[in-house]
């Protein structure tokens, strides 16, 4: 069985994931509203309850890569002064 399930869901703020959720399953938010969720009953239920759209790992990775690439291009286009405000985004490999 795969360790994780992947999906997109919009973080609605307070209560979107609770302390209890964090004790119950792995959860990692990524760019493009991608979420990596521990593959157990409670993790799957959480994604469903958040109206999440399940993705394959490949699909999720493509969404993240596209978002980071766009952010990198935006950062590269900044002035040298503006570039000092935060570091250049680096690509992310989903677990």
């Amino acid at each position: 069985m795969a360790l994780f399930i992947y999906g997109t869901a919009t973080n609605t703020g307070k209560g979107f994931f609770t302390h209890e959720d964090r004790q119950n399953f792995y959860l990692s938010g990524q760019p493009a509203n991608v979420w990596v969720v521990g593959n157990n009953e409670k993790g799957a239920l959480w994604l469903a309850e958040k109206n999440g759209v399940e993705k394959t790992k490949t699909e999720a990775q493509a969404l993240v890569t596209a978002e980071v690439t766009a952010a990198q291009e935006a950062w590269d286009a900044l002035s040298d002064e503006a570039k000092t405000r935060n570091d250049r985004p680096s690509q992310i490999t989903l677990p």
Binding site: G13, F16, F17, D21, S28, T84, D87
Partner: protein, 614 residues
């Protein structure tokens, strides 16, 4: 019908909320709010301990979990004389047995300064060279004691150096049922076991001993037979749930646990003087170990056979402990989404009463300001001047933001004070800097590090008294993009960028001078922090390369990994305490910046259980 009061001498109390003190262990109460009976129960668990210095199997053991010792045994076919003592943390080698041997018996209730080992074999595995001598340990050296009347190996033991008991075992291919009592000088015959056998798990005292399970040579195999000794005679009692041999017993005749039986069992059972019950299992199946322990609540299992064919012995250790407390791990949960979050804004206040202001987004540097009530963010009055990469201190009703970058670029020395409603201009910093670190209160703030225009790490420190900034002593390492937490007189500065390189340096400030402290686990820039110098935490940040979701707690001396956030990121300050912190906005290196997460530190509570009739 017998009442609870008649049985236990007190009545069941009615309470509206559950007790929280350890004195509740074993009590029963009626919770009038939930309308249920409740109690506090203890539970046990095995955890890994420090490995032995000498791999060994079939050795002896005595003493309490955190003050015990192992001696003798075999490393492959080599008989050992080595003795090691455990203090709960580490093993120390002490004097060797006079006669190196394994499969020996131990006075299991002995101590590190008064141990007794007897019988055993000086050869392994076949045609054992059985010995009858006993040895006494006085805390320094082993010395010869009186000889057993019957030489034997895999003999079980109980009692102390001056009131010891040996029973069962084998002479070559013969099960023994004799028991012998030692008075510190000589061995005398005791009553015979009802079931002759070897490899018995022994424990308790000379006059209240317990001998459980074992192996009956000649075809009988593993047995679950259990017997109790009262100093005069052996009585067969309730059998152990699993037939096994070579196990270890820790505790007394009426409160013991048995573990590490053959063949490589992980099972643990408890005995209350009448019945057996299941306890949590060990992580590693093993037998023929050198375990010890004088209580059912605290035992240690060291070395043994690891279960691999051809195994010559292992050195790993597991410890059994019980507790009435449940530990809830630290975690981050979603907070309310900001209305308009930015990167590199300032955050001050506490988890349920905070302010986020300034920062930048693709549209430029912001003067936006929002307040948080622990649930949702509310738009507040804007900063007097937009600021990016500034620092802050204080509370939601008395805050201060200083330094940073203005929209025109470079660094500024602005100070802006917040009273819970409006921002107003304060007196300027002496030196303009951005990516500066800040902490403290509105009337006792600290501004350290940062960079003047040109991306060079500054070591300047300034103190604010609510009116003016004054120059403090410089940091040892000049840097910007650092994070600072604590107070003006007890602060911690972590990480940052010196200009040429990101660093993991950590320094303490005592209100007068900076001193080096334990470095952060990685290089770190644009991280957030919260708490005090002795109960703080650092989270998020560029861990080089890439933004992370890690949290490390700090106790004034050491860093320890804690819960990870759900979202990696950085470029935010963080606020709150070491137990209740807030990470607001900043956000991941790409994507949305309006998220917030709330940290709750680890907590301990009583293991309260509701009583049911089923």
């Amino acid at each position: 019908m017998t009442t609870y009061k008649e049985e236990f001498g007190k009545t069941i109390k009615q309470v509206s909320s559950d007790p929280t003190d350890a004195g509740a262990e074993g009590q029963i109460w009626f919770n009038t709010t939930a309308q249920v009976f409740k109690t506090v129960t203890s539970f046990g668990a095995w955890s890994s301990g420090t490995a032995l210095g000498q791999v060994r199997r079939k050795g002896g053991g005595t003493g309490a979990q955190a003050a015990g010792m192992v001696f003798g045994g075999f490393d492959a076919a080599t008989a050992l004389g080595q003795t090691e003592q455990y203090n709960g943390t580490s093993w120390t080698e002490v004097g060797d047995l006079t006669t190196a041997r394994g499969k020996l018996g131990s006075a299991t209730a002995g101590s590190q300064t008064a141990a007794l080992g007897f019988g055993g074999s000086t050869a392994e595995p076949s045609n054992p060279a059985i010995v009858n001598n006993s040895e006494e340990y006085n805390g320094s050296v082993w010395a010869e004691g009186d000889n057993l009347n019957t030489a034997r190996y895999v003999i079980a033991g109980a009692g102390t150096q001056t009131a010891g008991l040996g029973f069962g075992g084998y002479t070559t291919s013969t099960n023994r049922n004799e028991s012998e009592e030692y008075n510190g000088t000589s061995w005398a015959e005791g009553d015979n076991l009802n079931t002759a056998r070897g490899n018995i798990a022994g424990g308790g005292t000379q006059t209240a001993a317990l001998g459980a399970t074992g192996f009956i040579d000649g075809g009988g195999g593993d047995t679950a037979v259990t017997e109790e000794y009262n100093g005069t005679s052996w009585t067969t009692v309730t059998v152990c749930p699993t037939a096994q041999a070579s196990a270890i017993l820790s505790g007394t005749q009426t409160n013991a646990i048995i573990f590490a039986g053959s063949p490589n069992l992980t099972t643990t059972f408890g005995y209350d003087g009448t019945n057996w019950s299941t306890r949590p299992s060990m992580a590693t199946g093993r037998d023929r170990t050198s375990g010890f322990g004088t209580a059912a609540t605290a035992a240690l299992c060291a070395g043994g056979d690891g279960g691999t064919p051809g195994d010559e012995g292992i050195g790993t250790v597991e410890e059994f402990n019980t507790s009435i407390n449940v530990v809830t791990a630290a975690s981050w949960a979603a907070g309310g989404n900001l209305i308009s979050g930015q990167r590199n804004g300032v955050t001050f206040g506490i988890q349920t009463s905070a302010v986020f202001a300034g920062g930048h987004n693709p549209g430029g540097i912001s003067n936006n300001s929002e307040t948080y009530n622990g649930t949702s963010w509310t738009e507040g009055n804007n900063l007097g001047a937009p600021a990016d990469n500034a620092a802050s201190a204080g509370t939601e009703t008395a805050g201060v933001a200083f330094g940073g970058s203005p929209p025109a670029g470079g660094a500024n020395n602005d100070t802006q004070e917040y009273n819970g409603t409006d921002w107003s201009e304060g007196n300027n910093l002496n030196t303009a800097r951005y990516a500066i670190g800040g902490t403290g209160t509105q009337s006792a703030a600290l501004a350290s590090g940062g960079s003047p225009p040109g991306n060079t790490g500054s070591n300047l420190s300034e103190e604010y008294n609510g009116t003016d900034w004054s120059i403090g002593n410089t940091m040892g390492t000049g840097r910007y993009k650092l994070t600072i937490f604590g107070t003006q007189t007890a602060a911690v500065a972590a990480g940052g960028d010196t200009g040429p390189a990101n660093v993991n340096n950590v320094e303490h400030y005592d209100g007068t001078s900076w001193t080096n402290a334990t470095v952060y686990p990685s290089t770190l820039t644009y991280a957030a922090s919260a708490g005090s110098q002795t109960d703080g935490l650092v989270f998020l940040g560029d861990l080089g390369p890439g933004y992370g979701a890690t949290t490390n707690t700090y106790n004034g001396t050491a860093w320890a990994a804690s819960a990870t956030l759900a979202n990696a990121g950085g470029n935010t300050e963080g606020c709150g305490t070491g137990a209740l912190a807030l990470a607001a906005s900043g956000g991941p290196q790409s994507g949305r910046t309006d998220g917030a997460e709330e940290f709750t530190g680890a907590s301990t509570s009583l293991n309260v259980k509701t009583l049911t009739s089923s």
